[in-house]
Symmetry: C2
Subunit: 405 residues, 2 copies
């Protein structure tokens, strides 16, 4: 008898019929003798509906209240799933973020889990119940409701799996697993049977929507085995595990395209010590993550600085950047949302030279200009015009032989 | 500077436009120098929508989970109202049942408030904020979400008003106040400017939808002044206060019609000591409230027993009654939902003889048969066929001179 954590995404609980289907699946795991903790997202479309209600009332809605608003979505789906389970004769109890004691920091709308106190979870399991935890939400030290950002239910699931020592954390979604590229864009994309935490982390951070990056970080930190699979089939999905367990160490494991990037340019910034800090500290204070950063070679004592942020942060970035530009006498400020970031990811890049060079050559062959580059040990990203997004993914995918022989 | 509790019902917050309207009203009270605690219901229709989702999944949905499900409705409206207030520059903070520490017993779907720990409420008020409390919900000693039954937000508001010592508890609704009868049924119905707790309690218990009975009980117990008024106008509504403050002590203050009654009949019950307990104890254990009870004169050692319950309890009453009937060898069991209860209420009935007799005569004049009678010090109720409901209300209203001279 093993303990499993199962997370069901929005499309998996998108209607009452689908909730019944999920309940039958959980009942099957119970019959097979497993203890089950379930983490649910809001019914598909619900989070967006709630967000738009709040935004319609105010363009500067307090984030604390936005969290209270959207957290109701997971509350509804958790209760409905318990009702469906009870109808199948499976005893279940729902726990909201504060009831499951998912403790987070106080950064509303993108809080980080600090700790999961598993006492109440264990009590319910010992009592023979399926525990259905509302994903995406937690509570801070003052008892305020917090949410974990888009895809936060993945993180709830992994954090709970780590806290209760689950054998596996199954992430049920509407795709069959992790693919070498988005199959909607790249017809030759294949499902990967195993992938390492490191690769998954890069892929998630780079726009593969299948797992929230923070969830992969936690899985890696606590060694939680994650199984990404479809709630609509019985097929095995993708196992995300430690590097040593990955069967093959490929040069490039996948290609992603991040459409969430926005480019910000500050021109004629004084080229002197402390300028970078003056720019990026205020952004950090606003909890705005800066991704790619390019500083041009200085000419006449000034330089141009380009960086990217996620589009959700663009509005606040505009405010901060305008203030900074004023302070730095840089009156030239540009914002560009017509860009995407394509990336290749693979553990093999650590030991194979020339991978980045091959990427640049493949893009050049198609006449795609590269506007910014960023690299890590196991990935290379290029910022390009948005119109080339699909073409670039296909060229890189097939150019690195991901489509098979 | 006074402290006011304002409760807004479902229609008052039924759309974003109405929520903005409510926010402006609260902003006005703040400008006038008042501290304000607001209690909100779910947006109109939302509670029913959630209930029907749960019921569609299971005819025996666990009540704990139904509470988790429907409590999300008030969570949404509380957050939206705070967002609307913030957009007007009014600092506000939402508190859910567990955050506002509204402690209840564990009777899910109709819990009773045991205590309000006002510490967090006071902290927010001292910080200069409007506090928006999600009505209808509380938390039991184990931290489970409970709800207070239909109209429970009224009770939340009065309990909070008592806890913080508010000058007045304003109940904003979609009618102008308390009427002598339902104006939709009785064209001569008038708004009452003052009414006593006792009368209001009877009227509420008897189907006047304007206040939850439990809220009037609490108001009476703690001497909370309640002002029932419309959120769509500035007109004064009805003040519900102690008897000594009521201006006029009329014989009959109002006429109500309760369409929620269902009649249950057990025939050929043995006429012996302990039988009534054998019947009503199991119902009480199931938290089913029995209203009117009629026991016929015994013939041949057996008797007939008739009682009424609310229709929401009918399904469970059927189960319990069938079990009891089996145990008592009473194989004749009848259920009748085609009845309504009309009532007259007034403090003056305590000192005026013949009021009940006049009621019976007025009904008889119209050929309306009375199937059961119940009385208290200040009310008389008659169970009649449902088809006579409107006619009976009009006849009693005008017969007791409530329509004016």
């Amino acid at each position: 008898m093993a303990l499993r954590v199962q997370k069901y995404g929005g499309t998996s609980v998108g209607s009452l019929e689908r909730i019944r289907h999920v309940a039958r699946r959980i009942a099957g795991a119970r019959r097979a003798g497993h203890d089950v903790v379930v983490v649910v997202s809001a019914m598909s479309g619900e989070t967006d509906r709630l967000l738009s209600l709040g935004r319609e009332l105010s363009s500067h809605a307090p984030e604390r209240e936005m969290d209270v608003l959207v957290a109701s979505g997971e509350q509804v789906s958790a209760a409905l799933l318990c009702i469906a389970l009870s109808d199948l004769g499976v005893e279940a109890v729902s726990l909201l973020g504060h009831q499951a004691r998912i403790e987070t920091d106080s950064v509303h709308t993108k809080a980080r889990i600090a700790r999961v106190d598993d006492q109440r979870l264990r009590e319910a399991l010992v009592a023979g119940r399926v525990v259905v935890v509302a994903g995406f939400q937690g509570t801070d030290a003052q008892g305020n409701i917090t949410t974990l950002g888009r895809g936060g239910s993945d993180t709830s699931a992994v954090a709970i799996a780590a806290a209760v020592g689950a054998e596996v954390c199954e992430i049920y979604t509407d795709v069959e697993g992790v693919f070498t590229a988005d199959p909607g864009v790249c017809p030759t994309a294949r499902k990967v049977s195993h992938i390492s935490y490191e690769e998954m982390l890069e892929l998630s951070a780079l726009g593969a929507k299948v797992l929230q990056p923070r969830s992969v970080e936690l899985a890696m930190k606590y060694g939680v085995k994650v199984h990404v699979r479809s709630s609509f089939s019985e097929a095995e999905g993708t196992m995300v595990t430690g590097e040593e367990e990955a069967l093959e160490s490929v040069v490039v494991a996948g290609v992603t395209c991040d459409r969430d990037a926005a480019k910000v340019t500050l021109r004629s910034v004084p080229d002197q010590p402390g300028v970078c800090a003056a720019i990026f500290e205020p952004l950090a204070e606003e909890n705005i993550s800066v991704d790619m950063i390019i500083q041009n070679v200085a000419v006449d004592g000034t330089t141009d600085l380009t960086f990217t942020v996620s589009r959700g942060d663009l509005e606040r970035t505009r405010e901060v950047a305008a203030r900074i530009a004023g302070e730095l006498d840089s009156d030239l400020l540009g914002f560009d949302e017509d860009v995407v970031k394509v990336s290749i990811v693979g553990l093999g890049m650590r030991s194979h030279a020339g991978v980045a060079a091959k990427m640049f050559r493949l893009l050049a062959t198609e006449g795609i200009n590269i506007e910014a580059i960023s690299t890590s040990e196991i990935k290379t990203s290029c910022l390009i015009r948005a119109k080339y997004a699909e073409l670039a993914v296909r060229v890189l995918h097939d150019g690195f032989g991901l489509g098979g022989p």
